[in-house]
């Protein structure tokens, strides 16, 4: 029987209250939202928080809004809401690509975007999605808010920039004209973690790639920000050859480890092919209407 080690439980009634509790209880306190990453870790004693602060009642952290030129997503927004959002499907179809292959629909009823990002598991999909989209995240503590990029957010394996006494509250994704995005994943069976996955976004202006975002899942100890492959795309006209080149660079820049899901060369091959496919699909989805 798998049961977590004992802990104290409290239910937050406000964001400020949750942060005050985190501050008061110190590093032995953890936030719980969907719980589908944290509870399995606690059952295995990989995490042993002495206090859990349940934020599931904080409806003010659950939203997907289009405002001031960016889409803002509350940290408590659940996978099922990301999957069903028409706003995201229109502006960032990469979310629906990823959400239909993250775990299964029953798990997606509970898991949240904030929890997925804060778990910072290299094999998790939304970390790569947000990285490819050049998202920023809002981290709040008793001293106020700070906004960090995904590069700054990812500190190491299972480690993020969210410190003791702080709460991830929001994800902000800039909306620029000419954007398209896609996520490609290969898994052993429905609902499994990726063998490898690639998230890609491109923004095309006057027939050239003005900006590109590429991030990979499950092919290193952390989410791979494929910055060298992105650089190879900037200023170029989109083509299948160019996307293949970018895929080859991304494959070089990842560092997979062999495990039950496959050997290193297979995962590296997948990283390249999936990057190329994700870029091609992202480019095919570039929105025609200017200024949206």
């Amino acid at each position: 029987m798998q049961t977590p080690a004992p802990f104290d439980y409290e239910r937050a009634t406000s964001v400020d209250g949750a942060i005050a509790s985190l501050e008061k209880l110190g590093p032995d306190a953890r936030i719980i939202a969907g719980g589908h990453s944290l509870l399995p870790m606690m059952k295995l004693r990989l995490a042993k928080p002495k206090h859990l602060i349940d934020i599931n009642d904080l409806a003010e952290l659950s939203y997907i809004r289009d405002e001031w030129g960016e889409v803002r997503i509350g940290a408590l927004t659940r996978h099922v809401q990301l999957e069903k959002s028409d706003l995201l499907a229109r502006l960032f179809p990469i979310f629906r690509d990823a959400e239909t292959v993250i775990a299964d629909p029953v798990v997606r009823n509970r898991g949240t975007i904030g929890g997925s990002l804060c778990q910072a598991d290299a094999a998790e999909d939304l970390s790569a999605v947000c990285s490819a989209l050049k998202a920023q995240v809002v981290i709040r503590g008793t001293g106020g808010e700070r906004v960090v990029s995904m590069e700054e957010f990812h500190v190491g394996p299972f480690q993020t920039a969210v410190g003791d006494g702080e709460l991830l509250t929001e994800i902000r994704i800039p909306v620029r004209p000419g954007g398209g995005s896609a996520h490609e994943k290969v898994e052993r069976r429905a609902g499994d973690w990726a063998i490898a996955a690639a998230s890609a976004a491109v923004w095309i202006e006057d027939g050239k790639i003005a900006e590109a975002g590429i991030a990979l899942s499950a092919v290193a100890l952390t989410t791979v920000h494929a910055t060298r492959a992105e650089e190879a795309l900037r200023g170029q006209a989109p083509s299948q050859e160019l996307f293949a080149q970018a895929g080859a660079i991304a494959a070089e820049d990842c560092s997979p480890t062999a495990d039950g899901r496959g050997p290193v060369d297979y995962k590296r091959h997948l990283a390249g092919v999936l990057t190329e496919r994700a870029l091609a699909r992202a480019a095919s989805r570039v929105r025609r209407e200017e200024g949206s």
Binding site: G35, H36, D54, A103, P105, V106, V107
Partner: protein, 161 residues
């Protein structure tokens, strides 16, 4: 701590450790052993119950997190000796052998048909993809849910007529 959860319409209050999982609250403190406790890792789906109408894996939710919410278990499906159409469908289509996955499959199917009364085969297969059945190969489970959808549609027609 004291936790109070509405299970199948009845308020159940118990003193428990905060670490108690919802599946154990349902099975051990309330004696509703129809909900099965399988993999304990949110993979198999045998423990699926409805939380405020949505299917969830009760092995990966603390009982304390369900306080103030409504839980519906497989025991609620049959009313006054009459089986729910999804139960009848499993019977008609021989959708179980050992029966271990069945409570989770039934509750997942019930939630699917409540939200989408006329699902495609693909939608059914997606909905139950969080449940593992090692006996049937899923074919008869899909057929059972299709049977239930068809019969529920027919009874809605009768009510209208």
């Amino acid at each position: 701590m004291n936790v109070s959860i509405a299970i199948n319409g009845e308020q159940v209050s118990r003193d428990i450790e905060p670490r108690m999982l919802l599946v154990h609250f349902v099975r051990e403190t309330d004696g509703l052993t129809g909900t099965h406790w399988g993999c304990d890792t949110s993979n198999c789906g045998a423990c699926v119950v409805l939380l405020d109408g949505e299917p969830v894996k009760s092995c990966t939710i603390l009982a304390a997190m369900a306080e103030g919410h409504e839980v519906r278990t497989v025991e609620s499906l049959e009313v006054d000796g009459e089986l729910d159409p999804v139960q009848q469908g499993f019977h008609e289509q021989h959708a179980l052998q050992c029966g271990f996955c069945t409570p989770g499959m039934l509750m997942t199917a019930r939630a699917l048909l409540d939200a989408n009364p006329d699902p495609t085969e693909h939608e059914i297969r997606t909905a139950i993809s969080g449940g593992i059945c090692r006996c049937t190969g899923y074919k008869n489970i899909v057929a059972a849910i299709q049977w239930a959808a068809k019969h529920e549609a027919a009874s809605r027609e009768e009510v209208r007529a």
